[in-house]
Symmetry: C2
Subunit: 399 residues, 2 copies
Amino acid sequence: MKQVFSILALYAVLDAAPLEPAREAVAGRWITTSEITHAMLENIQPRLAFRSGVTAEEFAAWQADVRAAVKRLFVRPEYLASDRAPCLLTVERRDDCRIEKWEAYPVRHAAVRFLVLIPPHREGVRLPAVLCIPGSGQTKEQLASPGGMADFYACQGYIAVAVDHPGIGETADPAVSEEYLARQLLEMGWSWLGYSVALDQAVLDWMKTRADVRADRIIISGFSLGTEPLMVLGNLNPDVYAFVYNDFLCRTLERACVLTKPGKDGRRPKINSIRHLVPGFWREFDFPDLVAALAPRPVLFTEGGMDRDFNLVRAAFSCIHAADRVEIHHYAAFQNPASRELLEHMPERIDRDEFFRKANVEPSRHGFKRDLVRPWLKKWTDTHESDGNTLPGYSLTNG
Amino acid sequence: MKQVFSILALYAVLDAAPLEPAREAVAGRWITTSEITHAMLENIQPRLAFRSGVTAEEFAAWQADVRAAVKRLFVRPEYLASDRAPCLLTVERRDDCRIEKWEAYPVRHAAVRFLVLIPPHREGVRLPAVLCIPGSGQTKEQLASPGGMADFYACQGYIAVAVDHPGIGETADPAVSEEYLARQLLEMGWSWLGYSVALDQAVLDWMKTRADVRADRIIISGFSLGTEPLMVLGNLNPDVYAFVYNDFLCRTLERACVLTKPGKDGRRPKINSIRHLVPGFWREFDFPDLVAALAPRPVLFTEGGMDRDFNLVRAAFSCIHAADRVEIHHYAAFQNPASRELLEHMPERIDRDEFFRKANVEPSRHGFKRDLVRPWLKKWTDTHESDGNTLPGYSLTNG
């Protein structure tokens, strides 16, 4: 009856102007798609977000679930190929260091090149090794050149391996953007990051078999964009020894929800390149959860982030009594805790500058923090030449 | 030994310039990511591509597999909400036609508005109905306005329902692009098309329950972008009666593989908006397969395409003796078969203009082809007021 009355009432205003679209139609219901999708995103509860207060057994079960989800999101066996062993292309020398260039064939149709920097060492001694993953736009050649990340590790006595991101350096095609490549991979049900990880995984597997590498002392060092493959590889490979996370730690779902302040053109800036798009990722976890799941392996954070996120990571490591394996350094301006905002949630409708400020980031000082890495390396792999040592509990290095 | 020799030989060229990256490293193996991803795309064999020569039973099994894959790719029950019935907002009159504006609540946080055009009819008579899905940038109000697609169907005696695409018209937010919305939905493990279909599905479900609608005579009419939800809804809803496909029929995977000619800036143009991105879609099927799976329900194609693709659709309908349900019209310039190139494969490295020419498309004449729809409607729903008729074999309309 109410419905009929309503129709009759409306007949009375025939030819009246249509109702103005309300921003909110009925409580919690929106007319504009942007409000709807925003509310959907905000309401995502990642299935595998780390919850503190779990037992060691519960932690192990959660970690296994994270690993399974990482595998499901990123690994596509149907595109892999393993019929061909990696092949040495060239060898150069720089000072005492040998630089090898290799080619691997891990993915169908792909020949993937990487550089290996081998510092001088006694015959028969196995060295710890570092897989160096560059930042956006950096090439493996830049990492390997004097002063680059890989060169740094080689100078510290590590076998340093430098890889390229897809579509960069030697793998670049000037006619094809990285967005385009990411789009193709997404169409195939994969992702730019998944593809990148498949290439890096082949290099990592190969490193483990090298006679001069201590397979139980392989570190992954990721700079900027390179921290993304680091997290994925770290979760896929429980045998990786430790991690250098050289970027600020970020909740990317929250970032997408709050970076909504329109620019000067009145438009909301794009989330970021679809290179970062991994469909369904946020339904499972976010970056702090992936790092938490690396426990108990040592992680060095060189460019800070929000205390909230580090508390989560520390809580995770504490579950298995490994809180001392997390080492956190903030940007210079935010080293004093009093200088940091202790936010539980980022405010909405901010721009990138404000986001960085509240996340304790100094974008102009973003760079590889070798001075923090050096002592950390010494702490965790100092005894690398003591071949007889074993790994349990990392006690060999921790005294 | 060969390896060792190779190393020694290379030592001899120490400090030589690094090898020039070969376009192709070894047979079938590429260095540049763009060659690799291109080869990967080209080698996709869609799992559910229609293969002619199957029996009626095999066809039914294939059709069920297509339906299951469509459901998996597009339907996300976790984002749906059905706790609230659609609500009538306003009623207007235009000439003899009643225009209702309704609001439905099919997806969490969403209030979704649509227009219903009801032509004059005798009390108690049920009318056939058409769900009208607009092209890119068109609004439901444009479809409903005099001369629009929905108005056309209402003038033919059909209850015509007009919907909006997400982010268009009333649902638009001037600060947020459709790309942005698509990105958010992809992040959630959904897609722009999947979300769009969820809204349309609710409207379709509601149409089926309307007392003045013949639920067994519901047609979906899609213009341009609107053909995409048409194909998905058609496969999800075996009870939809017939389809007006108002765009050219296209293999989108092939299009992405051949539209690689760089533009004036030397860059390959982007594939298209990520509104069209449905991760993994091409691994299952392409548009001609989805249309083939609509058999035996009548489909009207108003803007042609390649004979190759229509042969596939006709072959599918023939499997179940329904070839006469497919009606194909080409653009004026390509109506004479002699004017059409009978290609089995599009050539590579072409631009959009050449692609359209070879696909028998006249882009400037893209528009709703009411003159083709009118006789087709008469053919398939002429007896719509004979309420007692039943549906099997569509014999009631086919004489």
